[in-house]
Assembly symmetry: C2
Homo-oligomer: 331 residues x 2
Amino acid sequence: MTESVDRQTAAERLRAADDILILCHKNPDGDTVGSAGALYQALCQLGKTAAVLCSDPIPAMYSYMPFARYDGSFEPAFVVAVDVASIQLFGEKNDVQRYVERADLCIDHHGTNSGYAYATLLDDTAAATCELLTEWMDDLGVRITPDIANCLYTGVATDTGCFRFTNTTARTHLAAARLIAAGADIERLNEILFESRSHPRVEAEKLALESLQLFYQNRCALICLTWDQISGTGVAGAELEDLTSLPRSIEGVQVGLTLRQQPDGSFKISVRTDRTINACAIARRLGGGGHPRAAGCEISGNLENAKHAILEEVKKELDKLDQELSVQEQQ
Amino acid sequence: MTESVDRQTAAERLRAADDILILCHKNPDGDTVGSAGALYQALCQLGKTAAVLCSDPIPAMYSYMPFARYDGSFEPAFVVAVDVASIQLFGEKNDVQRYVERADLCIDHHGTNSGYAYATLLDDTAAATCELLTEWMDDLGVRITPDIANCLYTGVATDTGCFRFTNTTARTHLAAARLIAAGADIERLNEILFESRSHPRVEAEKLALESLQLFYQNRCALICLTWDQISGTGVAGAELEDLTSLPRSIEGVQVGLTLRQQPDGSFKISVRTDRTINACAIARRLGGGGHPRAAGCEISGNLENAKHAILEEVKKELDKLDQELSVQEQQ
């Protein structure tokens, strides 16, 4: 079992260490890369040797974050994982598992953190690990330079969908204000992070819009991409994931469905709902699961069968809501 | 000529007044409506009679902002305009011009404010009039209630594209943090403001993506909507305006062009550029104008002529940039 440590203790451990290896999670996103970049810069400022290791390549869009990749040039004496909730999320490549078992410290904001490290600094009220790190730089005794600010802003902004998602709090905006004051170049960062759609993504968006169907008096919207279309565009998994918010974002739509065919022909279905409908209840009845407003399941069989099955479950939830509302009206 | 007043003076004038008419600009957006709603609530808190008047209907999406529309039930003794930069922007309907001439106070953040009011509280470093008002509530001696916070957040968030546009500063985020702490329901507001696309807009987006063309090694992207398509979808002007950011948002695109046919057959062209290209230089050579990164012009004639004319000017700017870069390399 891990030892839960407070900010001060975590800072003391890192200040006492040297030859530090920083680990990211696989399929690296803005928060894990931003956390690693900021921590790397902070450790350099403290005069330490450090480097970053990730199972997967760091996406080229994050190339503005200056940090050294681990190349074996020092033997790690201290291992710190950032934004990684469980051992499985480290991945298998780049010999990363060799270091995972001896993780001295984990800094994370996921409430689901499994406690795999010797010590864990966890704050699940932070919208991003970078939000926690922004505040923690004071404990560490590090001045937030423009480079550190760029890294931390990246994590805060990407994990909150640029301050739009429901995890955004007053504290998130305070962190952003501090990072901008410290020199984060948000004009450039927002352009890179939020205004740059790849050609495959644009193509996939077009196909998704062409597939759009509305059901139940426009209360349910469905988009669908076949495996031929997905492989034809070459769109990346994370970009497809973004598309799942599209059907729900249409005016009046309470349930948005995204059907993505898998290589084996089955359909992965993402269910997104507004406040009134439980997405998890819909997905669970088809063997899936998730959160109240974002859930998913998988259905084998052809497209028409998959559509039929999920739409039946959506109808049940819509009917249930209507019934509840009509009972309330009668009372 | 208007009298420039500081925050304290503006607050004193309003505190001394009663029977106050609040004026918005025509085609009301989140900032003018949010400013009016917040000011209405603030004046009520100070025990005053107030109401809001706008030339155009307030969009239904803003119905969560509680304020009284002016219905003639009191004779205005003090007129205050919010977020209105010039007399033309008030519009002509609802008898609004009758009150414009006697505007006692204007509160605004547009550097272009023409100074039409007797007194003007102007801060063009604020990203939104609502950002300025958030701070100004202290001068006015008003507590920011959840209702006021919802109104002010609306203006701050919409004028900055949810903290994504280049006008966003540390101060903008500080205002947002304060409004959330004061009870702004940002989960609900962000859903209404940023995750609700009308059916006509979705249709227009689909047509725009289908029209997408790339030029000059994908450095220029062009979308085009004919008048038949625009009138066929029934998409609103403001929603079409949003679409102009689409072509520039594609990876590697330095110049994004949006051609919208007008009822008379001519084409309105929006030019959006990255940091390296001057949009205004392109538009100006075709009789238009604008800002360095967002400009526009109008071309009569058929679609092929319009495309040809604007693409020629884009090419000149791209060639100029390449030449400058090659000179720099040789030096």
